[in-house]
Symmetry: C2
Subunit: 174 residues, 2 copies
Amino acid sequence: MDTHGLLMVFTGNGKGKTTAALGMAMRSAGHGLGVCIIQFIKGSWSYGELKAVKRFSDNIDFRVMGRGFTWKSDNLEEDKRLALEGWTLARECIDSGKYHLVILDEFTYLLHYKMLDLDVCLDVFSNRSPSQHVLVTGRYAPDALVELADLVTEMQVVKHPLQKGIKAQRGIEF
Amino acid sequence: MDTHGLLMVFTGNGKGKTTAALGMAMRSAGHGLGVCIIQFIKGSWSYGELKAVKRFSDNIDFRVMGRGFTWKSDNLEEDKRLALEGWTLARECIDSGKYHLVILDEFTYLLHYKMLDLDVCLDVFSNRSPSQHVLVTGRYAPDALVELADLVTEMQVVKHPLQKGIKAQRGIEF
């Protein structure tokens, strides 16, 4: 069958974006296909997820970039430098042809907070190999990214346990 | 930390419900916690997903119930019998206390198409052990289920590759 590389976006404020990215990585790895996951927000992946990914170390490369969860930094220049470093790695992975699927987890924040040039990123996505699948996750996906993408799902929060005062649960939310 | 069993629902017409369920199963299994996945629509899980789950056979039990994807059957009684059989298994898993997380994948269809008594199901969810996590996926989650749940995400389709005439891709959608 013909491989048509998809540009995919999981966005919205609900739970399930990174979880679905992890599931998709497993699905590809299950087929024996190579996956690279680049985590743009350090610490956003839990011990449970990291251990799960490690079981697939033959098929999944996992890379951590960036630093804390918020980009409200006291050192904007340093954040921009880290963002660019992460993006350079992402670009190399996309251009390498080595992976069936490249996942840029929480990448939208870098665009939303203007850590990176949106046009440059869209250009790389547009000019990638026609068979290269790319999945971008995170809130606030820019309109132009949604416009370019082939598959976009918005995970909308209908209810969240915190609304009932329930703390995050091990093995479920982290 | 205290475990507060969550009743979770991933619904909506977008991609990512079962994918996120798979990711959550991996997350729990990564922690070494037991998971039971009951697939209510036979054939809805792909070879890639099944192979991924098999790597976690020490932590994840996977059970297939039901039959074809649609419930527009020529044998309604047989469908109801299979639905009840699946539900009986689900109930046993929930009541067993054996699993950290029980996933009822595509279960909402059984409720939507009235294969099962909604009140009976909600009763079992309500009266489960307070530490038991349950995740239900599928379109058309009934209002009463959403009402009861602690966490509900609606995966909304913003864009789907089929809209551009692109076929489903291996390792991505199956």
